[in-house]
Symmetry: C2
Subunit: 111 residues, 2 copies
Amino acid sequence: MATPLYQAKAEFFRTLGHPVRIRVLELLSERDHAVHELLAAIAVEPSNLSQQLAVLRRAGLVRQSREGGQVVYSVSVPEVRELLVVARRILVGVLDEQSALKQELTPGSAA
Amino acid sequence: MATPLYQAKAEFFRTLGHPVRIRVLELLSERDHAVHELLAAIAVEPSNLSQQLAVLRRAGLVRQSREGGQVVYSVSVPEVRELLVVARRILVGVLDEQSALKQELTPGSAA
DNA sequence: TCGTCACTTGCACACATCTTCAAGTGCAGT
DNA sequence: ACTGCACTTGAAGATGTGTGCAAGTGACGA
């Protein structure tokens, strides 16, 4: 066990820390997608998408398979969907708190 | 809403993508800790810890409060604990798969 | 076999993050 | 007021990531 668990965890979260990679995981957790489909949905250069897919592959989160002329990706760990849901919940909570705080400061409240 | 949700999500995950920050959140999700307590548990320079705490604060995940001579931190979003649990589950799954794959390749299996 | 589509890889530059040092703030005791 | 502890901040150098271009691979149809 060369890497302690908390370091593996950090690495794992870093893997998720990129907009394109998040989008890909969101799309793949709905259904499998060929690269050109992802490409149509995400608005990023092919080479860039490919790089991000490689990152996800290395992390073991997605799986690649050739089907005729195209390459199809699928999530290899179904719980990812759950993680994204929890993350959204937290995020919404945090953003709410922040905007509430902002409202507390912004208006000309002298009371 | 200048930032689309998937970008905010990516940012959020990047915030978690550091060993020290993960450790801090793990410790704080058990109970509140003063900085010197974290310092005793984590093995990192004070200034470095402070930097990482600042990152967590900016992200709205932890809260700071002065108590006498010391500064106490607490998680401001309880769901973080849940997120860490799900993350561990995924991580263990992925690592299992990877080591299984390794065993499939490593031994002198000619069959 | 040739061209084309679907992807991937290597590389180089720009940009962000991490780490540490040095200096600064705030509180408590003397 | 002064000293010391607890912590934070700023800044700089090293390191890591992201991006786009150019080139490469593989499958398919003409």
